[in-house]
Symmetry: C2
Subunit: 130 residues, 2 copies
DNA sequence: AGACATGTTCGGTGATTGGCGAACAAGAGG
DNA sequence: CCTCTTGTTCGCCAATCACCGAACATGTCT
């Protein structure tokens, strides 16, 4: 939310990071962000309540894995790949590669936003269940 | 344990491994094994009871990170580096390198003949073995 | 303004975890 | 035989965790 706390690079600890990635949902979220894209909360489809999803994204943020940006009422998240690679050289790319090869309990839904994003804009989707 | 259970390579899961490494004591143990050596239980000096140390070594074993061998009443442990590297290419060497660079709550004691446990009060100096 | 959408936060709950000591099993050696 | 050493297992306890629904805050849209 507003007062999103992001640890500095030095404050990121290895056990903390590994603990954050030890949950299938969280490593699934990371796998979906592994291409460097920024995703909105609403794109993540996972059989959990929104409060639990918020919890998982907070754990990822406070462990230093992700960076959260807010825009209006929406939040967007991306990996702190460069900083993680600086802190733990070669650990993060390797984990990302392994993560995307694992079964993922999280899937992507249509974003439905009109905001700028770096890559794909799907033409067909645009209808969301009301 | 006497009937030590080791998972097969296929049964090793990434979240499970990362969870096992998310504890400072356990990643410290792994860091001490990172050179490929085999260590006896008694070489690990950590401010924990022996039951808790046994618990941590069991977690490492059952997550597939270590291999335990018994000889008489003593147990020896080593990393399953080759199998881990096969299962998650390049993840494990990277984590090992990061682990040995972290502060380690576990230290090594003498491995040969050691009988000076009762009167020494300076464990800091001379911890370097071999 | 009112209705809606998006996330956070606050209890609460059940499961898991890390820690301990005591008791136990089993080999080594007096 | 008995004892010592090494490690496992068994409660037990406190802390943390994952999860939920409800309530709240805040921004957007009609």
């Amino acid at each position: 939310m507003r007062n999103a706390v992001h640890p500095t690079v030095d404050a990121i600890s290895l056990p903390h990071v590994l603990g954050a990635l030890s949950d299938p949902v969280r490593i699934g979220l990371v796998a979906l962000l592994a291409d460097g894209s920024e995703r909105g909360w609403g794109e993540f489809q996972v059989p959990l309540s929104k409060s639990t999803l918020s919890h998982h994204l907070r754990v990822l943020r406070e462990s230093g894995i992700t960076w959260t940006r807010q825009e209006g009422t929406r939040c967007f998240v991306r990996l702190r790949t460069a900083e993680l690679s600086e802190r733990f050289p070669s650990v993060f790319p390797a984990i990302l590669a392994a993560a995307v090869a694992e079964p993922n309990p999280v899937t992507l839904a249509a974003s439905g936003d009109e905001d700028s994003r770096d890559c794909d804009n799907n033409p067909d989707v645009g209808v969301i269940a009301s």
